[in-house]
């Protein structure tokens, strides 16, 4: 049974009519068929589903999206200005299509593969579809039946990649109401290391579109992935994303998820700690104003003994914005010596913004160290007075404290160029005011 019955964009008809890449691959065709059957049964989730209680996809379901992008004129210079990092391997997707001209993925170092997914489906069998379930309420089925592009990234055993990889996903806004369905497959072998930035950006301030993306991550033993996501799209855009990974023993996954723009942004982030000594950090920051809506659902499964997780999500809300945080940490039976820490802190700058925060821990083991909490507050009066007593005017002092509250999330980033670049982007939204 469909949850939202009046879906104006006939996604399943599009799946039938469109020539999707990878049609010669049997397992992929089967997977798409399953996904299509599932989507026909389930549709988009309604607010009756617990996980979607605070986020309505009604407006999204009523848009008439197109799946055919017109040719876009984007030159190298504009693209470089848009990128977050200067020194990086760069895979560029413009309006849902891989751009070979704008990408910098020739001459990769040994041990690193970065390819557009449309050309690499055949290599992805061991990871693709393995980290997400089609039955989960959300867009997994939709994405799987329609995914056309994305990145395939593979790092072979013992390779420590010297430069970050930036996946730059640009909406030019030249095709009105364009929907893109992207899938990234990231496979890091034993003892390998990579820094990855997923960067979603719109060039037009008010373009309407949909970015539907799933990133699947597989971390082998002792693999390490520093994983950043910067979502900075138009304030009329829809962004629905899943980031899901499985982690073998001693692997480390640092995720840093920054949401700045979109009319509606939803992230489902999930790590399964499947081997001992595995660690995940899930940090995040959301800045919303006006009528923006952002929803972060995170989940960490401590499945075996001796795994650790740390999570800080912070939010700054202004105007009539609405933010949702739901963080689940599940410590499974026998996952003794789990060490898990989670917090969600929110700064409310207006009276009309709204936050629904729910940190949750389900603990089925007895010898664990777990802590969680959430706070919702205004700027600290003592700090404000202190800054004013040092000569800063009230507006500047408020801006500075707001900026400081936000960038604290970045202070755990050890890669200085990335930390700096992200701080700069945040400063464009929250001027420090001095």
């Amino acid at each position: 049974m469909k949850q939202l019955t009046d879906i104006t964009t006939p996604f399943d008809d599009i799946a039938a009519s469109k020539t999707l890449p990878g049609q010669d691959i049997d397992w992929l065709q089967q997977l798409r068929e399953q996904a299509r059957a599932q989507f026909q049964r389930q549709g988009l989730p309604s607010k009756k589903v617990e996980d979607w209680k605070y986020t309505s996809l009604w407006a999204l379901s009523q848009e008439v999206f197109t799946h055919e992008a017109g040719a876009s004129q984007l030159d190298e210079m504009r693209c470089s200005q848009t990128a977050l990092l200067e020194t990086a391997y760069r895979l560029v997707i413009v309006d849902g299509q891989f751009s070979a001209e704008l990408s910098h993925i020739d001459g990769l170092e040994t041990g690193l593969t970065v390819q557009p997914l449309s050309q690499a489906f055949s290599k992805t069998k061991s990871v693709l579809g393995q980290q997400v379930t089609l039955e989960k309420a959300g867009l997994n089925a939709l994405n799987t039946m329609l995914m056309t592009e994305g990145a395939y990234i593979q790092v072979t055993a013992n390779t420590k990649v010297s430069k970050p990889v930036e996946l730059l996903v640009i909406n030019t806004g030249e095709t009105d109401k364009l929907a893109t369905h992207l899938r990234h497959v990231i496979d890091i072998a034993e003892n390998a290391e990579l820094t990855l930035v997923e960067h979603y950006v719109s060039l037009a301030d008010d373009s309407v579109g949909l970015t539907d993306v799933i990133s699947e991550v597989n971390l082998a033993e002792n693999a390490r992935l520093n994983h950043f996501k910067l979502q900075h799209e138009s304030l009329s855009h829809y962004h629905v994303a899943t980031l899901a990974g499985k982690q073998a023993s001693s692997s480390i996954w640092h995720t840093n998820n920054i949401s700045l723009g979109a009319k509606l942004a939803r992230n489902d982030i999930h790590s399964q700690l499947l081997g001992e000594q595995a660690h995940v950090t899930m940090d995040g920051l959301y800045l919303v104003a006006g009528k923006q809506h952002v929803d972060n659902h995170t989940r960490i499964d401590h499945a075996v003994p001796n795994t650790t997780s740390e999570e800080i999500y912070k939010g700054v809300l202004d105007g009539d914005s609405h933010a949702v945080f739901n963080g689940k940490v599940i410590v499974h039976k026998d996952a003794q010596k789990t060490d898990a820490n989670q917090s969600n802190r929110n700064l409310l700058l207006s009276r009309t913004c709204e936050i629904d925060t729910k940190p949750e821990m389900e603990i089925y083991a007895d010898d664990v160290k777990c802590g969680h909490g959430s706070t919702v507050g205004q700027l600290d009066e003592q700090q404000l007075f202190f800054l004013r007593a040092r000569g800063m005017n009230e507006t500047s002092a408020r801006s500075l404290l707001t900026y400081a509250f936000a960038v604290e999330v970045l202070q755990r980033i050890s890669d200085m160029p990335i930390r700096q670049a992200l701080s700069n982007v945040i400063e464009t939204r929250l001027p420090r005011g001095v």
Binding site: Q383, F386, R390, G391, M392, L401, A404, A406, E408
Partner: protein, 253 residues
């Protein structure tokens, strides 16, 4: 420099300052002592412009201006500096950023250009030497994770960089070890100048051995009940405050 006349202030209807009179001339150092809860920090906060106090009577004139009508930042820009009894931690703002922003705020008011980056570093390094602070502290967040003594030193560093005309030091000596007390005192003494006045709040005669005041006042229950020179502090050290209630109200030495 500063004239306080019959100042009354209350919090939530409770009168805490009950008629303060105090005149501070340029170049003078005044020490204010007095029992816990007497209203010393309240007086400093009122002078610095903290919200939440209702001024029911009296006036404060600073350099010819009605101080109480100015916003906290306007007072700071005109040279009023409060070293906090409990310095505030500001995660996410580095010390160097704060110092620069504070200095530029004062300079802007004075009609000067923003300080040049190199000149600023030279200045800050010199001032850090004065209070014997390691440069590492520049890049740490304001007071975050600082020890009690480090926080106090940090307040004096800010004062040294800003070079205020009127500095109010609220128990800057509390929590300092003996060496730190000497360092901080040397820092303050180095800032003594003919056109700079200092009001020091302290509980201990010890500080006054290092920074010798021109006047010592005893504040009790919201009033200055006794004033004298540095000898008064020595008497207090011996006899405490039990005499206050025996003495006729408002007596001055």
């Amino acid at each position: 420099m500063l004239t306080i006349k019959n100042l009354h202030a209350s919090v939530d209807g409770k009168e805490i300052l009950r008629g303060i009179d105090l005149t501070v001339n340029p170049g003078e150092i005044h020490a204010i002592m007095g029992p816990n809860g007497a209203g010393k920090s309240t007086l400093s906060n009122v002078l610095a412009g903290r919200e939440g106090y209702e001024i029911t009577q009296g006036e404060v004139i600073y350099k010819g201006e009605n101080l109480l009508e100015l916003e906290p930042e306007e007072r700071a820009q005109r040279g009023v500096f409060l070293a906090f009894q409990y310095p505030v931690e500001i995660p996410g703002v580095s010390n160097v950023y704060l110092l620069k922003a504070a200095l530029n705020a004062v300079r802007k008011y004075q009609g000067l250009e923003e300080v040049d980056a190199m000149d600023f570093l030279t200045l800050v390094r010199e001032k850090m030497k004065l209070v014997k602070m390691n440069e590492e502290f520049l890049h740490r967040n304001v007071n975050e994770g600082f020890s009690g003594g480090e926080k106090k030193r940090n307040e004096i560093l800010q004062m040294a960089v800003l070079e205020p005309a009127l500095a109010i030091l609220d128990e800057t000596d509390s929590g300092l070890d003996i060496d730190a007390l000497r360092t901080v005192s040397e820092g303050v003494n180095a800032l003594r100048a003919e056109d700079r006045s200092i009001v020091m709040i302290t509980h201990y005669q010890r500080l006054l051995d290092h920074i010798v005041p021109d006047f010592v006042h005893v504040l009790s229950e919201g009033r200055i009940v006794k004033s004298g020179d540095k000898e008064l502090a020595k008497e207090l050290e011996k006899s405490g405050y039990s005499w206050i209630h025996d003495a006729p109200e408002g007596e001055t030495a």
